[in-house]
């Protein structure tokens, strides 16, 4: 018998018992759409993280004072280390051939006032190279120059959140605000940058010249961070080695036989650790979703077994009028395949639809992955066949007269 005939028989069977067909489809539909939605969520999260890491600047190396401790994914510096200085930043730029630019950074949260409004905001003392290195540029007005930094002028550049919180609809440029008790003149506004990897709003930040910051605001002689830009991505490791050597020399660590009083991190590393965590996350949800696919397969198995019991007379009759065991086997396997393929296709549509709706309705980034669609479809087909073969074999082994006699 031709396959096309078997397909027609199976299709008619499924159509003639719609409720049962729909019930057996549901499991697979839920399984497939769950896989697609879950992977889209995982992928979206991963993409978001990668975007953030990339938006931190290209070929970025971050030198932090002290040893960075990792606690539950977040990074924290333990204790206060006072050895990292603005001079270190300058020397690294001039002495490390692989480093093209460097900028010192010292931050602290302080109360900022304008008129009778106030806000607790991160004050970032840095230099104008910060813009290129961190890929975070001025949008309106000007950023303070290197000369203005050296002269410790009291200029401030505001992040967008600060503008919103303190100034509302007023134009802040030219206005004077107080950081702590020190008055600063607003000369520019940064572009919007969004949250960083740790979810901290990077727009809730005021940039001031690092010299001004240390002398007039923080009263410090040291800094906590140096951001470096490496010439090219394949010189990353080389640059890290140079930076480490220069800093150990300058901090006289070798002579005193001490371990590093700084930590060097690069973007590639960050990318990899982040990718690892999101990958395990994705693997976890995919395995959970796969279980629902298997449950869907068991649904097909159950429904097929019931169908065979119900249709035992029909099977006997088909055999009596000339269906071979192979014909019967094929018919039921095709039925299982139609169920799993149908469930798979419907599941794909529902999954994609929900993923799109969810990304519209929520803040989440959902990224639908084509491989997840293909794999979940193939998986549902395999499950349908796997769970369809047993009932199909059972049906094909029936004895025609016994089947016809059974009630």
């Amino acid at each position: 018998m031709k396959i096309s005939k078997s397909i027609r028989i199976s299709r008619n069977q499924l159509l003639s018992n719609k409720i049962r067909t729909i019930l057996s489809l549901i499991g697979i539909i839920i399984g497939v759409s769950a896989v697609i939605i879950m992977v889209a969520i995982g992928n979206g999260a991963q993409k978001e993280v990668l975007n953030k890491i990339e938006s931190m600047g290209t070929n970025l190396i971050v030198v932090n004072a002290g040893q960075v401790q990792k606690t539950s994914g977040r990074q924290q510096i333990r204790g206060t280390v006072t050895t990292l200085t603005i001079e270190d930043a300058d020397i690294l730029a001039s002495e490390c051939p692989a480093v093209s630019k460097s900028t010192p950074v010292q931050t602290k949260k302080l109360l900022v006032k304008w008129g009778n409004l106030s806000s607790n905001t991160t004050i970032t003392g840095t230099t104008s190279d910060y813009q290129t290195i961190r890929n975070f540029y001025i949008e309106r007005g000007t950023f303070f120059s290197e000369e203005e930094n050296k002269a410790s002028v009291r200029y401030a550049v505001l992040g967008q959140t600060v503008v919103k919180n303190l100034f509302g609809k007023n134009d802040p440029i030219g206005e004077t605000l107080r950081i702590g008790r020190v008055p600063f003149k607003v000369i520019g506004i940064m572009e919007s940058k969004g949250t960083d990897l740790n979810g901290v709003d990077q727009d809730d930040q005021i940039f001031i010249p690092v010299q001004t910051a240390l002398r007039r605001v923080f009263n410090l002689t040291y800094i906590n961070t140096i951001n470096l830009q490496v010439l090219s991505s394949n010189e990353m490791d080389f640059a890290i080695k140079q930076v480490s050597e220069v800093l150990r020399e300058r901090h006289r660590l070798d002579r005193l036989n001490k371990s590093d009083d700084f930590t060097i991190q690069n973007q590639v590393e960050l990318l990899e650790t982040q990718k690892e965590t999101t990958d395990t996350f994705t693997a976890l949800i995919v395995s959970v979703a796969s279980i629902s696919l298997i449950v869907g397969g068991i649904g097909i198995l159950a429904i097929m077994l019931i169908a065979i019991k119900e249709r035992i007379k029909e099977i006997g009759l088909r055999m009596a009028v000339g269906a071979s065991r192979k014909d019967i086997l094929l018919q039921f396997i095709i039925e299982a395949s139609i169920l799993s393929v149908g469930g798979g296709v419907i599941g794909i549509f529902i999954g994609v639809f929900i993923a799109i709706m969810a990304s519209i309705a929520t803040e989440w980034t959902l990224s639908i992955s084509i491989p997840s669609i293909i794999y979940s479809f193939l998986f549902s087909l395999a499950i349908g066949l796997f769970f369809g073969v047993y009932p199909a074999r059972k049906a094909s082994m029936l004895d025609p007269i016994e089947s016809l006699r059974s009630e």
Binding site: M1, K5, I9, S16, K313, E314, G316, L317, R318, M319, A320, V321, G322, A323, S324, R325, K326, D327, D399, P400, I401, L404
Partner: protein, 248 residues
């Protein structure tokens, strides 16, 4: 003679029914069916007629003994060969019709054709329904047909693939006299065209239309005789129609 279609050698069929012990539905039955025969099998209820028909029709296996269909031993046929014999060589009319409830008369009759390599399935099925006088009931479901009409759908299904031999298990069991004669007329016509026919009946006046009458009792063949002057169902049918006309 090489015109034997079915040859049964010492068939025994035993059903194991725990409490009451074994049931011998057939005991040591040997039988030859030749091409062109019209055979009636008679016997009391429970004597083993259906069991014999099922085995002769290659649907059931004997517990002991062997069955040859066109000289091939049926128990040695492969899945495909056996299916092909059932499909192309044999037409079987079941005592309880065995029609598919959810499908139309036409689709029921088409069923054997689906498993053959015939192409004009619908036309052949319609022709067969026409032959049994059901041209106007093609799209009715079995539930919408009378017992006699269902019987005729079952006969159409047995005829549709143009088999060499037709086994009919009580084809007139549910019919009134007129319908019975119509069916027997059809069988006699098919037999004249060269088809071999074996039918089971309780009624002697039906059996007398056959060219050979086999009597079964308690699983054994107790008599097997040729009927040299079989009755003609068509003339009886005409007589019957006339009688009805006269009455009116």
């Amino acid at each position: 003679m090489n015109n034997i279609i079915v040859k049964a050698e010492r068939l025994t069929k035993v059903y194991n029914k725990g409490v009451g012990g074994d049931v011998f539905a057939l005991r040591d039955v040997s039988l030859e069916i030749h091409k062109g025969e019209l055979i009636a099998i008679m016997g009391a209820s429970g004597s083993g007629k259906s069991t014999l028909m099922n085995i002769l029709g290659c649907l059931d296996k004997p517990t002991e003994g062997s069955l040859f269909f066109e000289e091939k031993e049926v128990s040695k046929l492969g899945d495909k060969e056996l299916a092909s014999v059932r499909n192309k060589k044999i037409g079987f009319v079941f005592q309880s019709f065995n029609l598919l409830a959810r499908t139309s008369a036409l689709e029921n009759v088409e069923l054997p054709l689906i498993y053959s390599d015939k192409v004009n399935v619908t036309k052949l099925a319609k022709d067969a329904l026409n032959l049994v006088g059901l041209a106007d009931r093609v799209h009715h479901h079995p539930g919408e047909l009378s017992g006699g009409q269902q019987q005729r759908v079952a006969i159409a299904r047995a005829l549709v693939n143009d088999p060499d031999i037709i086994f009919a298990d009580e084809p007139t069991g549910n019919l009134d006299t007129k319908s019975s004669y119509e069916i027997i007329t059809l069988f006699q016509k098919l037999n004249k065209e060269g088809r071999t026919i074996v039918l089971v009946t309780h009624e002697l006046d039906i059996a007398e239309h056959a060219k050979r009458i086999i009597k079964v009792s308690d699983g054994r063949i107790v008599s097997d005789e040729l009927n040299n002057s079989p009755r003609n169902a068509e003339t009886e049918l005409n007589k019957l129609v006339k009688e009805v006309k006269n009455e009116n």
